[in-house]
């Protein structure tokens, strides 16, 4: 962007290399440079700094007022659809870093919270255990009853067996008849063949 001075002026300005810079390079050296600079044919300027160069050429101090920067909110720009990770966004007016608990009250509050939570857990555990125990007890009772019943039945059968087969068979309706038939011979009426010695 620097504008080269004409060859006649170049010799004189060689001792001061800064003089080669254009008027737009910086406001601090403007005054001296402008006074030394011979009439230039063409000065290229940025559109924004045009007024500044004018002021400088007129001999006034460059204004220190900085250009106002606008935030996104002020310009009413739509926010980008992106995720701000936790910890990146810094809350203002808050303490930086860790928050320590060193006072008695703060610790007591945390302890009360923890204690309440723990007691609740233990209580629920106890209730659960009690319920389970009840269920287990009920199941045990049922099993015992079943076992007793089975045992009683078995005992009855044993008792019957001890008293004899006769009585055991007694409840049969056609039992004696069959016995009779067997005693007589075959079922179809034919007498059983016998071999006897005279």
């Amino acid at each position: 962007m620097a504008v080269r001075p004409p060859p006649s002026a170049a010799k004189g300005s060689r001792s001061n290399p800064k003089a080669r810079k254009s008027a737009t390079a910086g406001p601090s050296t403007l005054k001296s440079k402008v006074s030394k600079r011979p009439s230039s044919k063409q000065v290229k300027t940025k559109p924004g700094v045009h007024s500044q160069t004018l002021k400088a050429s007129s001999g006034a101090k460059p204004s220190k007022r900085r250009q106002k920067t606008y935030t996104d909110k002020e310009l009413k720009l739509p926010a980008l659809n992106m995720i701000t990770p936790v910890g990146v966004e810094k809350p203002r007016g808050k303490k930086k870093g860790k928050v320590f608990v060193d006072d008695k009250e703060g610790m007591m509050t945390i302890l009360a919270l923890v204690n309440a939570e723990k007691e609740g857990q233990i209580e629920s555990k106890m209730i659960k255990a009690r319920q389970l125990e009840e269920i287990r007890e009920a199941r045990r009772m049922e099993m015992e009853k079943k076992k007793e019943k089975k045992q009683a039945e078995l005992d009855q059968v044993k008792k019957d067996l001890k008293k004899g087969k006769k009585r055991y068979d007694a409840p049969r309706e056609n039992g004696p008849e069959v016995d009779k038939q067997k005693a007589d011979g075959r079922k179809n009426g034919k007498p059983k063949k016998r071999v006897s010695f005279a």
Partner: protein, 188 residues
């Protein structure tokens, strides 16, 4: 060395509350204290270990450079890299007087326990009634000397029906560690 943050305090207290009852408040605010602020005990974190120390001593310790300070007060345990808290055997003196559930072991069960074994039913002399399973328990000798702590394997009601060789409490720490873990117990 610094005070604990609120999250750390909560983690620490919930771990301690596993073993102690409501009287844990006595640790922070002893009822027999004269109200002198320097006399109260505080928890301090130093190189991921938590120490239970008197405030006046903790304040004095600030004059020692961090890398020169090895330990102060009673070490309660350490924070793991994942933010959990591990109780050390050194915390036994802190939790034993405030224990919620206790389990006394007979003299014949002391040595197996102190060598790092779990507590079997045959070695149990007495136990607290109404103790649910998987709850923290302080293990004592028959003469009320605290020997360590652990978690119950079964509730008291269930444990009654068990055979003598079955485990009733899992060991977490025992005073035998002072000898067994001598090399690593106090190193960082």
């Amino acid at each position: 060395m610094r005070a604990l943050t609120d999250v750390e305090t909560q983690t620490l207290f919930s771990k301690l509350a596993n073993y102690t009852g409501r009287s844990l408040t006595q640790l922070i605010a002893p009822s027999d204290s004269t109200g002198d602020d320097d006399d109260r005990h505080v928890f301090r974190l130093h190189e991921s270990r938590v120490y239970y120390v008197r405030l006046s001593i903790a304040n004095l310790a600030t004059s020692i450079a961090r890398d020169h300070l090895l330990s102060l007060g009673t070490c309660v345990g350490k924070f793991t890299k994942t933010g959990k808290f591990r109780l050390h055997i050194t915390a036994l003196d802190v939790i034993a007087p405030h224990a919620r559930y206790k389990l006394w072991i007979k003299p014949n069960g002391e040595m197996p326990f102190l060598y790092g074994g779990n507590v079997v039913k045959a070695h149990v002399g007495r136990w607290s009634e109404d103790c649910p399973e998987h709850s923290g328990v302080v293990i004592l000798a028959m003469d009320d000397t605290p020997l360590g702590f652990g978690v119950t394997a079964r509730s008291t009601a269930e444990a009654r029906k068990l055979e003598p060789t079955s485990v009733v409490a899992f060991r977490q720490a025992d005073v035998g560690e002072y000898l067994r873990e001598e090399d690593t117990l106090f190193t960082t």
